[in-house]
Symmetry: C2
Subunit: 220 residues, 2 copies
């Protein structure tokens, strides 16, 4: 059967997917409400609808998980979102802090071949401007980012490969600090008291709070 979901439905599936990826288990109503910036009662209503459509499984007072079908839709929406972010940054020269809200709208455009054509036009990118992996046409996605800058010990170096928080304020801070994807960071000291770090990047020494370092994905 062919589904044509509302934007709200797709957004709920995305939210359930991304919470599920992080936590691994079934997702609480309140967690969804938090992510969707809505009320728990609204979530209950929507989850019931998605459950009726076979996109999630829900046990009362227990939690919600995506069905295979629901996950597939969530991943496709994510793919669309991330490809549009690439388009906005690479093709239309937006800055990486400007594209999230626009892609949030564009990801819901309905068309059989639009996203695949976009993918081709962009030469099949693997990552979006924030370092998030782009699922391929079949929904296969390489989750390989799990090391945060905050876990790097003093003396070690690493490469910035992604951001966890895509808020404009965080990204603008990174721009100012010359922290960009691909840049090398050397951790010089880590403060015991608040876990703030002194780091060397682009031959400059700066201090970043734990709040910052735990939102940066890095690799050795």
């Amino acid at each position: 059967m062919k589904f044509d979901l509302s934007q709200a439905e797709e957004n709920y599936l995305k939210a359930i997917y991304s919470i599920g990826i992080d936590t691994g288990k079934s997702v609480n109503t309140n967690q969804i409400a938090l992510m969707m910036k809505t009320k728990a009662s609204s979530v209950t209503d929507m989850v019931k609808k998605l459950s009726d459509k076979g996109l999630v499984e829900h046990k009362k007072y227990k939690g919600t998980i995506l069905t295979r079908k629901g996950e597939s839709i969530a991943v496709n929406t994510l793919r669309s979102h991330r490809l549009w972010e690439c388009f906005l940054v690479d093709t239309l020269q937006f800055n990486w802090d400007e594209v999230h809200d626009i892609a949030e709208q564009m990801e819901h455009i309905k068309s059989d071949s639009l996203v695949d054509r976009l993918d081709q036009f962009l030469s099949f990118p693997s990552y979006d401007p924030h370092g998030d992996p782009i699922p391929d046409k079949n929904g296969v996605i390489k989750h390989h980012k799990n090391v945060m800058l905050s876990s790097v010990v003093a003396g070690d170096s690493c490469i910035v490969i992604g951001v966890k928080d895509s808020s404009s304020s965080f990204l603008k801070f990174l721009d100012n600090a010359s922290i960009r994807l691909g840049n090398e960071i050397k951790v010089v000291t880590v403060e015991d008291f608040d876990q703030s770090m002194q780091i060397e990047i682009e031959n400059k020494m700066i201090t970043v709070s734990y709040q910052i370092s735990k939102n940066l994905y890095v690799k050795k």
Copy 2:
């Protein structure tokens, strides 16, 4: 004041604009209902709302016209629609019969600079893939298409510059007949009985019905 209209509101403004352009006078409720594929009662409700927002002026039982503000929004939406059509055809290689429904969704994306950046990326095109003129950044639009193939007399030649009907079935017919924008058409004979025409195009002779010829914009 800054407006953020719903897609429905923008679509009504577009409909009122395009009927108004064709007829020159104020627009009837039923005409809007026909174009929006909805019921007159729904139109009455929406027109009331648009009127409350200062986007149209409506006299009960008389008709509706756009205010300056309403027209500006309609033209901006049209600009967005036509630029996205260019993008879909020129950049993503869609055929011209596939893009209307997609652009219908994309035209509603909200962003301060998206459409202007797209315009720049496309090198400021003047016409969309169906020959419709694209309003510039200030909403200035050159309406210059008003000669239909049906008005060309036997013996005369003309150039195809646009289509009035953008339905997929009409455009597919034109593809098959090698009738494309920019092609020259020579009108060989016109049948008195049904106004069907024998035309020469790309060195081929074909017959087109009045239904066809009155939906093709041409110039001498």
